[in-house]
C-alpha cells in the first residue's frame, strides 16, 4: 500500500466532528436536532440539561450536543465548549423582544478562547411564522458583520417544515472539513 493510500484511510476514519448547539430558550434547538434526524418533534419538552445525538451525514460522524438555553442553564454552557468544531447558534426569528439578549449572549460566546477555532452557523429559525424577521434583519440585529474571529454564515430555516436545515448543516460541514481535514 502506498503512503498516500494510508493517509487517505486515516482520513476516512477520523471524519468525526463535534457540533455544539446553543441559543436562547425556545429558539428551537431541540426541534432542529430531532427534525434533522427524522424524529417526531411534537413531543419535545424544554431541555433540562442537554441531549447528545450521534449521526452520520455525508460520510461524517457528527456528535451533536444540544444544551438547554434557559437563563438558569446558561452559566453551564461553558462546560460543553471543549473540542467544538462547529457552533450552531439558533435564533427564534419571531422573538423580537429578546433579540438584544440574543446578541449579547452570542457575542460573549465568541470571546471564549475554547471556541476560538469553531465555525459559526447561525440558524434564523421559525421562518414559517408570519411575524418572523428575515435573515438579513437578524444578521443586522446580531451584528454578525462585526465578527472577524470566526468563519460564519446565517441561514433562514424552519425546524417545523425542515426547510434549509440541510443547507445549513452542509455549509457547516464543508467549512469545518476544509479547516480540519487536509484536502488533496
Amino acid at each position: 500500500m502506498g503512503l498516500l493510500t494510508i493517509l487517505k484511510k486515516m482520513k476516512q476514519k477520523e471524519r468525526e466532528m463535534r457540533l455544539l448547539m446553543l441559543g436562547l430558550d425556545n429558539a428551537g434547538k431541540t426541534t432542529i436536532l430531532k427534525k434533522f434526524n427524522g424524529e417526531d418533534v411534537s413531543t419535545i419538552s424544554p431541555t433540562l440539561g442537554f441531549n447528545i445525538k450521534t449521526l452520520e451525514h455525508k460520510g461524517f460522524k457528527l456528535n451533536i450536543w444540544d444544551v438547554g438555553g434557559q437563563k438558569s442553564l446558561r452559566s453551564y454552557w461553558r462546560n460543553y465548549f471543549e473540542s467544538t468544531d462547529g457552533l450552531v447558534w439558533v435564533v427564534d426569528s419571531a422573538d423580537r423582544l429578546r433579540l438584544e439578549d440574543c446578541r449579547k449572549e452570542l457575542s460573549s460566546l465568541l470571546l471564549e478562547e475554547r471556541l476560538a477555532g469553531a465555525t459559526l452557523l447561525v440558524f434564523a429559525n421559525k421562518q414559517d411564522l408570519p411575524g418572523a424577521l428575515s435573515k438579513e434583519a437578524i444578521q443586522e440585529a446580531l451584528a454578525l458583520d462585526d465578527i472577524k474571529s470566526h468563519h460564519w454564515c446565517i441561514i433562514g430555516c424552519s425546524a417545523v417544515t425542515g426547510k434549509n436545515l440541510l443547507a445549513g448543516v452542509d455549509w457547516l460541514l464543508d467549512d469545518i472539513a476544509a479547516r480540519i481535514f487536509t484536502t488533496d
Binding site: 477520523e14 419538552s45 440539561g49 438558569s72 422573538d95 411575524g131 487536509t182
Partner: protein
C-alpha cells in the same frame, strides 16, 4: 485561517525541486494529521469522562436508593418509635441523594435526570405514605397560594367589547407582520380565527384586561401582563409568558414556558411540558373551558387532545425535583375557576 496560511506556504514552495516539495508536503500533512489526532483524542477523552461520570452516578444513585427502600420497607410492622426514627433517617438520606442528583445534573442526559427525579419522587411518596399510615394526624398538605383568584373574579371591566387594532411593537422593523395587541388598560378584547389562526401572537403591557383569543395561533408570547384574564384557543407550538402577575390564563399548547411570573393561575392543556423559571405562586389546573369553535381550533392546532401533562411542571430553579418546588402548586379542585363567561 490556519488552512489559508498553509495553503499560501504551499504555493510558495512550488518552485523548488519536485522531491523536496513532496517531502515537505508529506511532512506537513503528517504534522496536521498528528494535531488532528490529538484533538480527536481529547474530544473522546472528554466524552468518555462524561460517560464514566454518568456510570458512577447511576451506580451510586441506585445503591443509595436501594438502601433507602430497605429502610422504608423495614418500617412495616415496626412500632411507632422505630418508625419515627427510621423515617427520619430515610428522609435525611433522601435529601442527601437529592443533593447528589443536583450536583450531578451537569453530566446527566435529560433521560437519566428524569429517571432519577422520578425515583426520588417515588421514595418521597412512599415515605409519606408510611408516615400517614403509621403516624397519622401529622397531616402535611401542600396548598396553592391561589388567593389572587378572588381578586380576578370582579375586575373593573368595560362592558362593551372593544376591538383594538393590532399595533406594532416599536422595536420591530416594520417589514413582517406580527399579530400584536399591546398597551391596553381596562379593555375587554375578543379575537377570532380569521385574525389569529396560524399567527404568532404577541400580547404586551396589558393591565386589567379580559382577553379571549378564539382560534389557533402558531405561537403565543405574552409579557407584562397585570391583573388580566386571558383565554386562548389551542396553540400549536409554545406559549412564552414573561412578567405576568395576578392573572388567570387558560391555554392549550405544546409547551408552556413561564418566566418572572407571580400569583397567577394557569388552566392548562399541555402536550409536552410546562416549565417555570424565576416564578412564585403559580397555580396549575387542567384546561376545562369551552367555547363554540374549540373543537375546530384543536384540529387546526394539531395538538393531541388526549394528552395533557398539565400537572407535570419543571421548575428550572428547583432542579432536584424530589420535593415539590415551593414556586408552583396544583390548584385544589374546590378553588378552580369554572365560569369563563365574559
Amino acid at each position: 485561517m490556519e488552512a489559508m496560511a498553509e495553503h499560501s506556504q504551499e504555493t510558495r514552495v512550488t518552485g523548488e525541486s519536485g522531491a523536496d516539495k513532496i517531502q515537505e508536503r508529506l511532512q506537513r500533512r503528517h504534522q496536521a494529521r498528528a494535531e488532528d489526532a490529538e484533538r480527536k483524542k481529547e474530544a473522546q477523552a472528554s466524552q468518555s469522562v462524561a460517560e464514566e461520570k454518568s456510570g458512577y452516578f447511576l451506580s451510586t444513585f441506585n445503591a443509595e436508593r436501594a438502601s433507602i427502600e430497605d429502610l422504608l420497607s423495614s418500617c412495616s410492622g415496626a412500632d411507632r418509635a422505630v418508625v419515627t426514627q427510621t423515617l427520619e433517617e430515610a428522609t435525611v438520606k433522601t435529601l442527601q441523594l437529592q443533593k447528589f442528583l443536583n450536583d450531578s445534573m451537569l453530566f446527566l442526559t435529560q433521560y437519566e435526570l428524569r429517571r432519577a427525579q422520578d425515583a426520588l419522587k417515588k421514595l418521597l411518596t412512599s415515605s409519606a405514605d408510611i408516615r400517614e399510615e403509621a403516624l397519622p394526624k401529622k397531616k402535611f398538605a401542600f396548598r396553592a397560594r391561589s388567593k389572587a383568584t378572588d381578586k380576578v373574579s370582579a375586575p373593573p371591566v368595560t362592558d362593551t367589547p372593544t376591538v383594538t387594532d393590532s399595533t406594532k411593537v416599536d422595536v420591530a422593523p416594520a417589514e413582517s407582520v406580527q399579530c400584536c395587541f399591546s398597551n391596553m388598560d381596562n379593555v375587554c378584547m375578543i379575537k377570532t380565527a380569521e385574525e389569529i389562526n396560524k399567527q404568532d401572537v404577541l400580547l404586551t403591557h396589558l393591565t386589567n384586561c379580559k382577553v379571549r383569543l378564539f382560534g389557533s395561533p402558531s405561537t403565543l408570547h405574552m409579557t407584562h401582563i397585570d391583573n388580566c384574564e386571558i383565554l386562548c384557543g389551542p396553540v400549536s407550538s409554545s406559549v412564552f409568558v414573561d412578567h405576568c402577575r395576578n392573572s388567570t390564563l387558560a391555554i392549550p399548547c405544546q409547551q408552556l414556558r413561564t418566566h418572572n411570573t407571580t400569583d397567577t393561575q394557569v388552566y392548562l392543556h399541555v402536550t409536552s411540558r410546562a416549565i417555570v423559571e424565576d416564578c412564585r405562586g403559580v397555580g396549575f389546573a387542567p384546561f376545562t373551558c369551552s367555547y363554540p369553535t374549540l373543537d375546530e381550533d384543536f384540529i387546526v392546532s394539531g395538538l393531541d387532545r388526549h394528552r395533557n401533562n398539565w400537572s407535570q411542571v419543571d421548575d428550572f430553579n428547583w432542579l432536584a425535583a424530589g420535593t415539590p418546588s415551593p414556586n408552583w402548586a396544583l390548584i385544589p379542585e374546590a378553588d378552580r375557576k369554572t365560569n369563563w363567561e365574559l
